[in-house]
Amino acid sequence: MAKVPVDARVVDSCREIAANIADDVQRFIEGHTTVGVERTTARAYGVEGLDDQGAPLVNVLVDRCHAQGLLSHGIALFLGGALANGAPSVNDAAERLAYGRDWGPLPSDTAGAKKALVAHTRDAILRIDAARDQREATKAKFPAARTPLKYVIVATGNIYDDALQAKAAGFAGADIVAVIRATAQSLLDFVPHGPTTEGFGGTFATQENFRIVRRALDEASAAYGRYIYQTNYSSGLCMAEIAWMAAVERLDMLLNDAMYGILFRDINMCRTFVDQYVSRRIVARSGIIINTGEDNYLTTADAVEKAHTVLTSQFINEAFAKRAGLAEEQMGLGHAYEINPRIEDSFLLEIAQAQLIRQIFDRHPLKWMPPTKHKTGDIFQSHVHDAMFNLVGVATGQSIELLGMFSEAIHNPLLMDRYLSLKSAEYIFNTARHLGDEIEWKRGGIVETRARQVLSEAHDLLREVERESIWEAVAKGAFADVKRKRDGGKGFAGVVAKGPTYLNPFVDALEKGKG
């Protein structure tokens, strides 16, 4: 086996430090909620629909509560209070609160409010569990796919075209289809509603769009005798709401990262940390696999100099994920083939890192990302570049591989681009299936040396982050060369300290775990 030397003591120490880093943030998380978390809670209780301006009821409800300065009690307290006072359904309770003449007094009977929510909390958890069971049952009908799973993206802007393209990708051999989101969506502080047919750079994530693609992929799975996974994005200002929708609509994977929004979308740190926690609580229960976004670091920072920041962040993402109840088998930690291909022996540096990460995170369904930064409009060269990436993917046993597209630097993939990409990946995965088992790296050679160096640098950076706290480290640009302040960025106004009477039986139930 093409193993690299991994010092278990250093890895243990990295995990310990990452645990300390995450614990520091976890104390903050436990003391706070956000408008996103409260909207998620309302959705889980069955609040749905739009007002006459097209604003989701959950937004009108939570914004009104927040405007009164009452969100520190939790929206559940008010919904439960309205139920206890005779509202016939949660949705009716929400409408009374959102559209009534005034918000009304703080429910005095907290115990009554809690009691009124018991059945609704159980139903919410049952909805997640039912979708999970249905996913497992559907998956069990098909043979398990061989890794690396082949992951492709569709992004037409129109959900009906996406559904067609998703089926076409299934035909051509894709195991996983992601519908990439419209680029502006991560900064929207609401989730759009219904099927959508216009979007720039991708298609809006909506609950109805999730259903449409799930249906198409179920059909494709049946037609091609292979389970085809559905992926979307639980990121941006609505991470937790989207996690809820994905969980009940039976998605298989979600892009979900503890720090991505902070670094790459300039979303406030406090907001992101709280939102990622609740989103991951839902994900943990639903059995969805997350994909973290460390690959992005190397698109802004140098992939040789900053390789260790990827590993550092993976330890931190893992620590946060554990605190949200995720199993290792759900943690698709991300990394990427982004070293400048003109550097001599860059292939060896890539393989060293890919193998190192494979060994350190041995139970995790690692997400291996293709070259993008050094792609040009020369599609023929680009196809070769992707081939080298595929070779590393299969030789180092990556779990989920987002296939490179030769038209990466040109446009969103066309049907033909995806077909050729899948054809090439199939060829390489098959022709080099056991390459990794046959190789032993030269003692003290380039690969071994690089693996040692990256682990050691990651360990140093973790210590530095621990010393400074992650809040300071991010402010100084430790990750992706991007600097963000604790009170800067979007969505900070939606972060609220929980009051002593804060109520959220839905999140409490998720925290109690299964059974």
């Binding site: 802007g157 089926k167 076409a168 990708a169 035909f171 051509a172 419209a182 680029t183 502006a184 991560s186 900064l187 979007g199 720039f200 750079g201 790459f264 979308r265 300039d266 698109t299 802004t300 920072a301 140098d302 400048n340 930064k373 040009t376 409009g377 630097a409 040109i410 969103n412 066309l414 049907l415 033909m416 077909y419 050729l420 060369d481």
Partner: protein, 259 residues
């Protein structure tokens, strides 16, 4: 001016004038002898003679992928083409610093952003941030530039307001991800906005991105366009040339000096 001699060119395979071209495409048909003939005719309709369909594979249910080789029957008279190419004079990092210090005596203020829905900051970051790209340092690394990177998804109104407030000499707009030509509409909307605010003449407007070229940028009302492969130093050189280059001595007004 003497009339130029016509110069006809066609694609080159391995002999002068053979017109060899390969194309690949998908037709919404299942593979069949008829589909193959259809692909051949499709190539002929594009001006290829003797087209050879070298690959026919089903890429999706009801969709077939083709590779075709053929000889193009078309040629182009290159002497009649007019293309506006952006020619920048190449000064080194040090020469740029010296030029600005001597001729302008103050820093050049640059404001950049990815505008509209575009969240892809790779291009603007490479040009503005210290790090730069592939060893070519970004504008932040120059003493003579004051670079403000506003990041992603910046609205035109906000960009114009910031540029105005900072008394920017130049605005850099990056448009990476696009669908249905929204990059054009969005870029043009900024020009219109600046015109409406009587600010267009006070600032240089630069447009960059994988689908941008100089000609397109000029058409959209920008001063320059930078396509794929642009290095930060190309942008630095352009700015220095426009704001304190040779041509500033011959008629083009110097940017107003600022306190």
């Amino acid at each position: 001016m003497h009339p130029t001699e016509p110069k006809l060119v066609t694609a080159y395979g391995d002999r002068e004038g053979d017109g060899m071209v390969q194309m690949s495409f998908v037709l919404p048909l299942p593979p069949s002898a008829k589909a193959r003939e259809g692909a051949k005719r499709f190539a002929e309709a594009h001006g290829l003679t003797e087209p050879l369909v070298t690959t026919m594979e089903e890429a999706a249910a009801g969709y077939t992928y083709f590779v075709v080789y053929g000889r193009s029957s078309h040629s182009i008279d290159i002497s009649r083409l007019e293309v506006s190419e952006l020619e920048t004079h190449t000064l080194t990092h040090d020469e740029i610093e010296e030029r600005v210090a001597k001729r302008l005596g103050r820093r050049i203020v640059v404001v950049g952003a990815c505008t509209g829905s575009d969240a892809h900051t790779v291009g603007i970051d490479a040009v503005l941030n210290y790090k730069g790209y592939a060893g070519d340092k970004g504008l932040e690394s120059y003493k003579c530039f004051e670079a403000h990177n506003l990041g992603a998804q910046v609205e035109n109104v906000e960009l114009a307001a910031r540029a105005c407030a900072l008394k920017a000499d130049a605005i850099l707009v990056s448009q990476v991800v696009t669908q249905r030509n929204c990059h054009k509409d969005n870029a043009n909307a900024l020009v219109e906005l600046l015109r409406a605010q009587n600010h267009r003449d006070k600032v240089l407007l630069l447009l960059g991105g994988p689908r941008i070229d100089h000609k397109l940028a000029l058409e959209l009302g920008f001063d320059a366009g930078f396509g794929p492969g642009t290095k930060p130093s190309d942008v630095a050189n352009f700015l220095v040339q426009r704001l304190c280059g040779e041509e500033t001595a011959s008629g083009r007004p110097l940017a107003p000096s600022k306190g």
